[in-house]
Amino acid sequence: MANSFTGAVAVVQFPGVNCEYETAAAARAVGVSAAIFRWNEDPAALDGCLGIVLPGGFSYQDRIRAGVVAAKDRVMDAVSALARAGTPVLGICNGAQVLVEAGLIPGIHWEKVDLALAPNVMADREGYYCNWIYLRREPTNCLWTKLYGDGEVVPVPVAHAEGRFTTEDAGVLEEMKRGGQVALRYCDASGAVVPSFPVNPNGSVENIAGVCNREGNVLALMPHPERAAWLRQVPEDLGDRWARRRRAAAGDQAALEGEGPGRRFFAALGGAKGGSR
């Protein structure tokens, strides 16, 4: 039964996550192998893995607070140790909530909880919101966004009820910005960072959509790049170059099976080596 993840991407399946399969598929689409790691398997199997992805969903039913129960799980001892040693770690949506609650993000102080992913604040309601938004790649040394250009606009979907990055510690926010840890911001189709809904879909401070650690190998990302890893997944009616490409590919299935805007998050692993950068 025991899997080995040497040279492969491990997608961690906490009870209640629900994006593990498409996340593994998005990793495979860039030519790396990927497998599911059930939360209570022996964490030693993760040694030597190419990268770790904490996928989206509702780990432990969001009991107490999204991500916090998984953050205390035994497997996170191993994830934390591997992250410290430089293994690439990506938390998507619920996975981002786990990384924040585990103190791996922003990671300015080791395993200290310096941020929250708080309930969404929208124009006229609260709660769950699912839609396509645009991300702007910020100047950063983040491993996961290294294949995107500075200022590049990337459409991807969000789907969450608690995605508002916030902190009570102004110093932390300053240090994150200074250290190039604000990897991605919500923006409009032209790349303008407009602070109001719906460009900022959850009221996140300074439109922050993704935060990496100082070393750049760990990223907490609220939107779902695995749902934008194929051109087929891009809605025709969006207003940017990806949607134009999508429309131009109508009738060409091979083109639609090609790269989507979110794929380069995973492609970044192509150049990464297991255990270090």
Binding site: G56, F58, Q61, A159, D237, A250
Partner: protein
Amino acid sequence: MGAPLTGVVAIRDLPDERIAETLARHGFNITTAEARRVAELLGRDPTVVELTIFNTMWSEHCSYKSSRRVLKEHLPVDAPNVVLGPGEDAGIVRFAPGGDGDWWCLVIGHESHNHPSQVLPVEGASTGIGGIVRDVYCMGADVVGVLDPLRFGDPSGPKGRQSIAIARGVVEGIAQYGNALGVPNLGGDVVFDRGYEDNCLVNVVAAGIVLESRIVRSRVPVEARREPYVMILIGKPTDDSGFGGAAFASEDLAGEEKANRGAVQVPDPFLKRVLAEATKKVMEAARARGVAIGFKDLGAGGIACATSEMAHAGGFGVKLDLDAVRKALGHFPPAVVSCSETQERYAMAVPREFAAEVLRIYNEDFELPRIYHGAGASVIGDITLEPYYSIETAGGLVCSAPVEVITTGIAYDRKGAPRRRRFEEPALDPRRSLRDDFLALLASPNVASKNHVFRRYDSEVQGRAVLRPGEADAAVIAPLPGRSVGLAFAVDGNPFYGLIDPYEGGALAVCESVRNVASVGAVPATITDCLNYGNPEVEEVFWEFTEGVRGIGDACRGIGHLSHEGAPLPIVSGNVSFYNQNEAGKPIPPSPVVCCAGIVEDYSRCRSIRFKDEGSALYLVGEILDELGGSEYYRAIYGALGANVPRSDFVRERGLVRAVIEMHRLGIVRACHDTGQGGLLTALAEMAIGGRGDGELGFTLDLDELAPLGLPPEKLLFSETGAFLVETAPGIEREMLALCARNRVKLWRLGEVRRASRLEVVSRGASLARWDLAELRGAYLDACRPIFGVENTGKGA
């Protein structure tokens, strides 16, 4: 046999009044005559457990006792693509080759959860989704989507506040369940009308995919003749929370709704997700060891109904030990444990040899007992060769009868009598402003954008989305990674047509859903239905029901199967919901709701409804007749229902969908939208606005082009005769004409899509009305915001 029977209820020797008292004391809904029939079948007085089983099995919900005969007479259930028709938990059709002679199959189920949702909207709707996805999971399938046709009271009617609260609660319940489970929402429809203010409708459809060779049947497999098999119960600990729910679903909601609250179940999508993952591993292990298993979800009637039906379907018996059932805290009598509707449970028949591995996967690998208090998998009995059904407890035998007795059906011959009502067309008022009227129509909650609902649902999870709810007439997914095959889904059912003519209500629901699926280029593969009506004991209601079913059946045969000449469009799953009425017994409008699933050869040709390119040609495919009866225009502008309901014409319908599918195959479609509710002008506006509300291209409609139809402007613009608007590249009119002639449908070239952010209607050189896209957008996008926009309370978890 052996042990003595305990809990026997005297029936046989009692007079009717005393039996009625006994039944009432136990809270049973079966009639005195039915109770006597139970005793007759058993050849003795029944036990409480047995009466409880029959009380559930003979409810309208489980037995189809009023509807079965009508369904059998009218609905076609077989076609060459059908693997499994109605009868088990979900229906199955093939949709793509799966290699080595195997086939990929679509598994689809359609249910209602109306009464519980009226009482407790969040839990009621959640449980509806939970129940229908379980029906699909238990066939061995991966669930790839859910759809939810909803009907609520008028938000601006006298009970508007309550109707809005119910609508919000239902949407919240659907969102909570589906989002957490990780199943994308593929849309649905929402209709508001006063007729639903005391009885909302929450219909749910779930779709899954499975290889034909991996379908798991809801029966004890034949292999149990060769080696010993056991019955395993999996999931949530059994409690009394859902006790009596099946009987509840078929009762009318008279009096204090809250009195019935104990009957509503508490669903749990988290546990369901973990169960689904663990079950996947069990199925893998079974395949690896070449072991045959039977698997069924527990719904109405709980353990007793599921296990007896599995045994009956396989020709076996079962001997259950009720004390081995995992129970929640509290003391529950045997009848409750046997028949409770506790959610998130399955029964599985496996070889005794394999049982330990099954228990290990659920209880240890996936730690069910640890992550959910009291949950887990346990062996609760043996499969027996003798077809005999018994349930034992430490206190004695509580049920003991041949399996075929337990599963005996019941049927009634109900009578129908036509409802006589006169309908009249309103007189059109030439002084009215087309400009203002159209803005009012677009802002009617039945026409306006439902994005406020869709954004609460996860439509992206699983990564299969091609077209999402609101982007086109049908949602499309690419179910098989890397392959071109797509699946399209749409639901329909317009209650206002059925009010005028219940036959057309049924027939047009099929036509409209078929058109929606064809609109993205999909070939209709199967229909499912949910038949929502009032009290079948009322002759006029039963007539409405019979007419609706007749209409559905005629449409399925009349349009036929486009991939299998001569075969009907098969109905592989369905549900009947009766007793939808208010306290005074006034029934809801006749509400047959239909889902059509279609197959797309190449999803890359599926397009959104939004105008794509300046200079494109826009065509009307089909025709427009004087058919505004039940239209949104009459209702919203004249407050009238009208009389001239659209008349189904299956030959025309077949030609229309063939023509449109052919256009998609040729790759000439840039955008396509059917003209349904709100008519031609609404469809045009929707193409200009686009599903996301940010369209930038406009159109000028010259009614002179449609002059040969001989209708006044209002009727041309707002008739609900089914037709299509198709945007294509310019300069292919000749091909379009030839294609339509081949399919014997009419074609009208309406003009060119323009880079002008407005919509205009002209006639004889004069402008009749003109709108900026911004104001259309405002009316269309904002109308439902007050209904769904604001969160309701800060209610505790």
